[in-house]
């Protein structure tokens, strides 16, 4: 058993990562981070800026995959609907992430805004062309995709092996980390999703999610500040659950 693995919580969330370079807001994170001027301009002019209301969909499952989206502001989630009506959420996406970039002719997932979202909608063919024109851009896409894959694999491990409380803890920790990556610090974080949304992300019912949060609150690990805001009181306790160290204590 190779014990010393750098354990990390499930990441439903942060695929794009911050980069040290400064400049305009949109460039600090993810997609726009290390691109040269030319590529940046090419992408901006090839795409079309759009905004979406909360719960509005960027694209639906089954839609022809004619466009990809680059998320600038806000939070979105990717969902999959099963033939019998069950719905699963595959992850959350934030500023800097790319959505709907697929090799298949139709979107296999739907993308839905959770908050106000501003995104750049770009034609797939034009994007492919841009990728072959700008090696840096293509490299950047490969890196984003690799990270997104790693995050999805973490999520998969969590759904395969974690208990309900571990999953909820992992969700909270990765939500926090996503916000810290984007400059939101302090013990208070906002939770832009309902209990039902969290349930769909974690393969749990909304009641089970609620019970887990209540249990954390009862143990003094967190406190509710308004409905969609939480204050973390014992991050270590949550983090320990979130990486899959079984709780021996109470």
């Amino acid at each position: 058993m190779t014990a010393l693995n750098a354990a990390r919580p499930l990441i439903i969330a942060t695929c794009a990562r911050p980069s040290p370079c400064g400049g305009c807001e949109a460039r600090k994170v993810g997609f726009c981070a290390p691109l040269d001027e030319e590529a940046l301009h090419a992408v901006a002019s090839a795409g079309e800026r759009r905004t979406f209301e909360p719960r509005q969909s960027l694209f639906n499952q089954g839609d022809p995959a004619t466009h990809a989206f680059i998320l600038h502001e806000g939070t979105a989630r990717l969902t999959h609907l099963l033939p019998d009506g069950r719905q699963a959420a595959v992850g959350l996406r934030f500023g800097g992430d790319v959505l709907g970039f697929t090799t298949e002719p139709t979107h296999h997932l739907a993308a839905e805004a959770l908050t106000m979202v501003s995104a750049c909608r770009i034609d797939r063919h034009r994007l492919d062309h841009l990728l072959s024109q700008h090696p840096l851009l293509e490299r950047h896409f490969l890196e984003l995709c690799t990270r997104e894959l790693a995050a999805t694999q973490d999520h998969l491990v969590a759904l395969g092996q974690f208990t309900a409380e571990e999953r909820v803890a992992a969700f909270l920790i990765s939500l926090i980390e996503a916000q810290e990556c984007r400059g939101q610090h302090g013990p208070t974080y906002d939770v832009p999703v309902t209990r039902a949304d969290v349930g769909e992300l974690l393969g749990l019912t909304l009641e089970t999610v609620s019970r887990a949060v209540s249990a954390f609150r009862r143990r003094g690990w967190l406190r509710a500040r308004g409905v969609h805001e939480i204050e973390i009181l014992d991050r270590n306790a949550l983090a320990s659950l979130a990486i899959g160290e079984r709780q021996e204590d109470q």
Copy 2:
């Protein structure tokens, strides 16, 4: 509810896909498919061919990610070990797939051979260099990564929403499809994994996997031919479970 979604089973398996081009065996599928002569030669000479016994590991969780592997022959699996000893499997990988290609300094997953495996081990820096030299190669990597992501998302949906029998059915169907992609046809397929392995892939115990297979056998959906070989008798029944149409019938 956009009903007409092209439903597909969970794919723990096939990321590389066959390509129409002929030529040497290694080129028919996945990694080596559409590469130009030059890139192909460059990769072959930069990497080092290695073979692995069943249950031998290509790399371990926590190892420095100094090399990536291109799988030529055989089946491998990617696993993650939790601090408390629980183990999860993230997927199976076959000929043409790339393993251990990560942006992080260490491998977060382990890769283990299930059958005899022949793979090409290549230094990460040299690979990065090759990628920037050969746009076709980089494009190919991006495509593989995108497919692997889609497969992992399917897997995730299955672990989030499927019952035990649905998961096992989905596993069998995707195993079959992976073999058909690689030229193995006929109603008989081999299952290069133990019940415990399947359990780790599906977030189930080995007993539950065994019960599901027994149930399928009892219903006349399949028959065991030797230990690691099954004959599919009613593929439609399995496929229906595998895409998440709830079984009304017994």
